[in-house]
């Protein structure tokens, strides 16, 4: 027991008493748990409020604001936009990130460090900077009558600036865990590089791919600074709408929106867990 070790060393060294350390550790645990749970619990409680105002205590409970959310074309439309953008981001970021990570893991590439930096750099850039940059570069661009600025496609790509490096980073680590001999075995049995990639490599890292895809999804679903810069009234996402509503007037409807966003995220987590357990059953018996 490591705890014992700390306590014993304390008593022997004559510094702190074990009881004191224990009390500090319990107090800190309560503090951290409380800190993390407060905004979550507050939101959850408020979403079941019946009143129109955000104020405590809550006198009547109801599902009124859930009905209100589902009845509001503006909010459901924003939720739909959020889902479309998040799915698009997932597809773009996962495809590009996985392929690039495979190239990095498998092939000798000139200027590898430089390319690595180019791919990873956007991940460290603040959302405002990325949003502004993309808005400046693509603000007036019009392809065959398709206005890029304000479109969901541009937002998907902008979100991919965060999601793609993340997928790349996760997949690079995952690919390194592959036994390179099964790749050689596939080549040896006549599998061409692309066949090998899809038949052998992708299935053996499926958990990694699913996880990074869902992380990409979650990032896009939650992001709202770039979305604020790059969407118009028709394409605005749920977080953007929440932000704008918060600035004007907060109602329990926002709490409902927050709960629904969180539910989408936790649904993703469940998918990862189920997939992981399924894979584990298959390969590690």
């Amino acid at each position: 027991m490591p705890e014992l070790a700390v306590e014993r060393s304390g008593s022997r060294g004559g510094g702190f008493q074990p009881a004191f350390l224990k009390a500090v550790s319990i107090a800190f645990t309560i503090f951290v748990v409380g800190y993390i749970l407060i905004p979550i619990v507050v939101t959850l409680i408020m979403s079941f409020n019946d009143a129109n105002m955000i104020r405590f205590p809550i006198n009547t409970w109801s599902l009124k604001w859930y009905r209100d959310f589902l009845g509001s074309a503006q909010f459901t439309g924003a939720l739909l936009n959020s889902l479309i953008v998040a799915i698009g981001t997932t597809i773009i970021a996962t495809t590009s990130g996985v392929l690039a990570a495979w190239a990095f893991e498998r092939y000798p590439i000139p200027f590898k460090n430089g390319l690595y930096l180019i791919i990873m750099l956007p991940l460290f850039m603040p959302g405002v900077v990325l949003g502004l940059g993309v808005a400046i570069a693509f603000g007036g661009i019009n392809i065959f009558g398709f206005q890029l600025y304000g479109s969901r496609l541009l937002l998907m790509i902008a979100h991919s600036l965060w999601a793609m490096p993340l997928v790349f980073m996760l997949m690079e680590a995952t690919f390194r865990t592959i036994d390179h001999r099964i790749v050689e075995a596939s080549y040896d049995l006549g599998g061409k590089p692309l066949q090998t990639f899809f038949e052998i490599v992708v299935p053996s890292v499926s958990t990694g791919i699913i996880s990074s895809a869902l992380f990409a999804f979650v990032i896009s679903l939650n992001e709202f600074v770039m979305a604020l810069f790059l969407t118009d009234r028709d394409t605005q996402t749920l977080p953007v709408l929440m932000w704008l509503s918060l600035r004007s007037a907060g109602t329990p409807r926002l709490a409902v929106s927050a709960v629904i966003l969180a539910c989408a995220v936790f649904a993703c987590l469940t998918v990862i867990m189920v997939w992981y357990i399924r894979q584990l059953r298959k390969t590690a018996r």
Binding site: I182, D188, G191, R285
Partner: protein, 349 residues
Amino acid sequence: MTTAPALELDHIRRTYGLVTAVDDVSLTVAKGEFLTLLGPSGSGKTSTLRLIGGFERPDSGEIRINGRRVDHLPPYARDTATIFQTGALFPHKTVAENVVYGLKMHKIDKAESEKRVKDALAMVRLTGFEQRYPAQLSGGQKQRVALARSMALRPAILLFDEPLSALDLSLRLQLRAEIKRLHDELGFSAIYVTHDQSEAMAMSSRVAVMNKGHIVQIDKPDIIFHEPKSEFVFTFIGESCCLPVTIRNGEVRDKSGEPVDLKLARPPAAGEWRLYVRPSRVVMGEAAAAAENRIAANVAFAEFLGDVYRYHFKSGALELFCDYGGPERFQPGDRCVVGWDSAHMSVFQ
């Protein structure tokens, strides 16, 4: 069917930075031949195999399979199949899916490939295991699936990369016999890499002994054993006792200067020499009286090996050992005569 050999290596060389892993290697594997590359680790045998499989490219030289030059082709365009040390089965595919994989890649039609999978699994006695995943198999079973997977392709040449070295002894012996049986039945061409000389001797049509990137001797197993061309081959194949001596004026002396009574078939020139004799050819006790060369020696210590005792002797500066299965027992310090015939002695400078 062409008449060309299954595999030809023509002056192959491969360097990694300053290290020459494969240095001017040439060899030919006839159709149906089972050739073993034998050598210590780092001798270049695995590198040679990887060059043949296409996982590495040679710096110079040519590789031909069935007369067709392949050294610039990637592995998937070569008619070879490797059985890897760890099997390298695809963990997410069942046994049947593993075996059918290569056939699918070569676009072999469904009926034919189903038949081949069935035959291949029957050959390695794994019928009924089709739906298992590799994680559900033992080490020996995995290696057999790997064998079936490669054989189902019916490649021009099978490449074995120390396939048994990860298994324990009894399994190793069992699978060794099985591979030999399959070779006898099917007559495939194969290159087998190992550092285990008994494996090499037991299975091969020919053995190529490698050291430091070179092939130092290539011949039938019995010739390699009985007529080693170099000191390296002699010491690497089988057990040996080394007797360092100095020869001057036709007189043989050990390192301490004591004369030793040895009858050399062709007395070598003056200088420092190392005489080698196989312990299995050294006799002691009564039998030693008839041997051409005899020395009196003290028993240093004895090891019990089961059927026999192994006695280690010291005579002046010379040390040697032999196995004795006779009824007599010797104790450390006992003095006795050991001997061997001159034909069984090799001399290297």
